[in-house]
Amino acid sequence: MSSITFSDSRWIARGAERASFPRFISWLVPWVIILAVGVYAAGLCLYYGLNQTNMDNRFAFGLWIFLDLGIIALGAGAFFTGFLVYILKRAELKPILNTAVVVGLICYSGAVAILMIDVGQPLRAWFTFWHPNTHSMLTEVTFCISCYLLVLCLEYIPLLLRNRQLRRLPSFLVFEHQLHKLVPVLAAVGTLLSFFHQGSLGGLYGVLRGRPFAYRHGFLIWPSTFFLFILSAIATGPSFLMLVTATVEKVTGKRLVADKVFRRLGLISGVLLAVYVAAKSIDTLIWINITSPSVGFAPWEYYMHKPFGLPILFAEIVLFGLLPAFLLAYRRTASHRGVLLSAAALACCGVLLNRFVLTVQTLALPTLSFDEFLQYTPSWQEVASFGGVIAYGVIVYSLSYRYLPLFSAQPEGGGKDVSGH
């Protein structure tokens, strides 16, 4: 390349083929713009207060909570892969370990950022640590998510320090070496934390005695949604990783991960999804026949308001549950890359729909017999900050992909992991 134009090739891992710097920038620009708008919108919400949103006294939670639950569910791939690789010693999944960490970091940091805008008094966020109410699912969520975000950062550091320039500093490289040796500990802690807060996020709604649509009986202090959320999260996490990797492959036009890794992920995802769907169906039956009637709410009430009719329940369980579960797990279909990926997409849609129903439909439905069914459309500020988080994710991922050895096993570069065999 000519020596006039600036080049960041020295920062790119040796031998890794990356787009030219100008092209990379031109790819980033639109995302940076979206991010900027999002930051501006978030600023409005922080400065003028939440009247900038379209939330109200009955729709106290809106788009943002849906976003939080959604991306945290999709980010579950991070801890689950770590769990599989380090705890269950499934070495074949190592190639997507790094990308899993990055995706996880993005999802969780994004969620926390949105939460900080979503609360009315962000300056008091730390009160939860000061006067925790141990009976509140939200306390559990706050504690676990903040801890797990820390864990994710720590898991990200080794990746960061392996950047070609940073690794030249002996202290960095040695620290990376030492930290990397301890990562299994972090993975174990992360697994614990994630199991808890994925569950607590489900519990968040399951405990709402005042909202019979969401309220569930459960086991000990945990409503059934606690376990359903864990299941659905670990079921779709791998699918989301597949989607991300596939997208990256499409964008970069490179084969980054061997097909067998994909198929393995698909299998895990499919099997877990099947288990989830089974559990979910049982739970739904119990809820329809016991839980809800016992507090005087006939189940048909919930589905007499358009657009939240029975089709939604069907879509959640069959279209986005059974179908992808089968496609992912069955060897014939799974061996076809296209089918595999679309099934993964279905699975992700499923978990998103589930979170949507639990957050939005719960609030839209009336409780008092003379309540009206509520509609709510997010304000542009809400949508913009939503988009901001997405853009933030893309940018962070792009940077990580360009400058860090995300796919250590990729044929083009060297790598710790190929040295293993």
Partner: protein, 556 residues
């Protein structure tokens, strides 16, 4: 020595770690929690000892008893007076926010001449000039007060007119004034003794009369009872608040209330359900049945129900003569539980809405509802505490606001007995204000002052030795040793209530069934509210809960 990147790193890490053991971060956290609790822009309530004073509401002619909390010379809260003989602790929803009215952005703070800022002197000069040039008409919205007397005598001295804007309840009594010769302002409904009340669209449970007077009576004698002592029958096209709570709701076609009245009267006379003799309605029952959309049987049934529990009185929301005539047929005029005369004195008023023939100047007291605009080309001097916006006057003169001047409070328009209370001023206006009475006595020094008149009124009550003085306990006037004592107690918030003028106290001449007249109806829940603005907290009722609609036209 040169600092390597590594040194910097180590140094900053150490600094960060070290900072944690200093009090700085914890102190900051602590402060944050305090900042986030009281930002400078969060208003802090007035400080100072709170003392509770009794007074009366002067915002409309119903004179509800008020218990006002005052802190540092400012009104900080309003509540009803449980011991009040008429309102019994009740207030209208608007009154509970009234203590904030004096700070309303639309408060009239300076003299305005044709909407441009002027001075009291200019106004005074303009008015004196006008007086010297021709007759003056003085319009009052709250007759019977000391101030009213001042206004009236000023008008008399100037060979001018004293006119009155009557409340909706009083206007509805106009037909009886025509037939009995007793001024409507001195008539009232003896609801305490009524057994059945047929309301023709009158919002009996929604701002009709003094709050708490009828509503409390209804609550105690009727609410939720299958066979109540007091039967409230609401004749109204739509399901109003009153209709929805009434013992029976009669949904008639819009505007056919009068027809129904005629129909009922017809049945009563035809089936001899009433002893009293009255004129026979010209309208046939079938016609009534059709026009009301109820059918003959329904009307017959209704007539029988009505007389099932006497005494019966019909209450109209307008000055419909048919409803009045029905009362005559029912024998409710001048009878117990019907329409009675409040006092023996005889005093009639000239209604304000009749065109003003010849006047050089018109003075409008601040008690006149803002939406009343005199039909005249004379120079209009309007007193008001709040500026309603429209240029209905040449001069706008800032009058005392809520509880900013001492005044007396005569009986509410629909009461069956006399009552008298005093409303001491509990706060001071933040700018120069004058009531119409004060302004006029400034022009004509011969006028008696309001204080003298109030004093005289107390004297008169003391000498008459009738009635009770109601505060926490009730004391017959006859028990009082001196007039001062009585007056003191009145200033302290006690209310004097007269005795009913024993029936029969009305003679009603009605030969034949009246012909319909152009009726004027009360506008609704806040119709008697005279100020052009609502207390800000009324937004809870209108915008924030949708519990009520703004009465169209007024209070915009």
């Amino acid at each position: 020595m040169k600092v390597s990147r590594r040194d910097l790193l180590v140094w900053s890490a150490g600094a960060a770690a070290g900072l944690m053991v200093t009090p700085v971060p914890w102190r900051v956290l602590d402060d944050v929690s305090i900042w986030s609790q009281n930002w400078p822009w969060i208003p802090q309530p007035a400080r100072g000892p709170v003392d509770v004073k009794q007074s009366a509401c002067t915002l409309c002619p119903k004179g509800c008893g008020l218990r006002v909390r005052v802190a540092g010379g400012f009104l900080v809260g309003v509540a009803g007076v449980a011991s009040h003989p008429v309102t019994r602790g009740a207030l209208c929803p608007l009154a509970f926010g009234a203590h904030q009215l004096n700070w309303h952005p639309q408060r009239l703070r300076t003299v305005l001449h044709r909407r441009s800022v002027s001075t009291w002197n200019a106004a005074q000069m303009a008015f004196t000039k006008a007086c010297s040039e021709g007759p003056v008409v003085v319009i009052d919205g709250y007759p019977g007060r000391a101030a009213s007397q001042v206004l009236e005598s000023f008008a008399k001295n100037r060979r001018g007119e004293y006119r009155v804007v009557l409340s909706a309840e009083t206007r509805a009594l106009a037909p009886y004034e025509r037939w009995t010769g007793v001024p409507a302002a001195l008539l009232g409904y003896d609801v305490e003794n009524a057994g059945t009340i047929v309301s023709f669209g009158a919002p009996l449970l929604d701002g009709w009369g003094a709050p708490g007077h009828f509503t409390r009576l209804w609550a105690d004698r009727a609410a939720g009872m299958n066979d109540p002592q007091l039967r409230l029958i609401q004749v109204e096209p739509t399901l109003s608040r009153t209709a929805s709570r009434a013992w029976q709701w009669v949904p008639v076609r819009n505007g056919s209330e009068a027809v129904l009245a005629a129909g009922i009267a017809g049945v009563l006379l035809e089936e001899h359900l009433v002893s009293a003799r009255g004129p026979k309605p010209t309208l046939s029952l079938t016609a009534a049945g059709e026009q009301t959309g109820l059918g003959i049987d329904a009307i017959r049934g209704l007539a029988r129900t009505i007389v099932a529990r006497p005494p019966v009185v019909a209450i109209a929301n307008d000055d419909s003569p048919e409803v009045a005539a029905l009362n005559v047929v029912l024998g409710a005029v001048g009878a117990r539980g019907g329409i009675v005369r409040r006092s023996r004195e005889n005093k009639s008023y000239l209604a304000a809405d009749t065109p003003i023939s010849s006047a050089r100047a018109v003075v409008i007291d601040s008690s006149v509802p803002w939406d009343f605009a005199p039909k005249t080309d004379a120079e209009v001097f309007r007193f008001a505490a709040w500026d309603g916006g429209s240029g209905s006057a040449d001069w706008l003169l800032p009058a005392p606001g809520f509880l900013e001047e001492a005044t007396d409070v005569p009986a509410a328009p629909e009461l069956a007995v006399q009552s008298f209370a005093l409303a001491p001023a509990l706060t001071k206006a933040q700018h120069e204000v004058r009531s119409a009475a004060l302004f006029l006595s400034g022009i004509d020094s011969a006028l008696p002052t309001a204080e003298e008149i109030i004093h005289a009124r107390c004297q008169q009550i003391f000498q008459s030795r009738v009635g009770m003085l109601c505060s926490r306990e009730q004391t017959p006037v006859s028990r009082f040793a001196a007039s001062q004592k009585l007056e003191e107690q009145l200033w302290a918030g006690a209310v004097w209530v007269g005795e009913p003028v024993g029936p029969p106290n009305l003679r009603c001449e009605l030969k034949e069934w009246p012909t319909p007249s152009t009726s004027t109806r009360g506008e609704g829940w806040s119709s008697s509210w005279t100020a052009p603005v609502l207390p800000p907290l009324a937004s809870k009722l209108v915008e924030e809960s949708g519990l009520r609609q703004r009465a169209e036209g007024r209070l915009a």
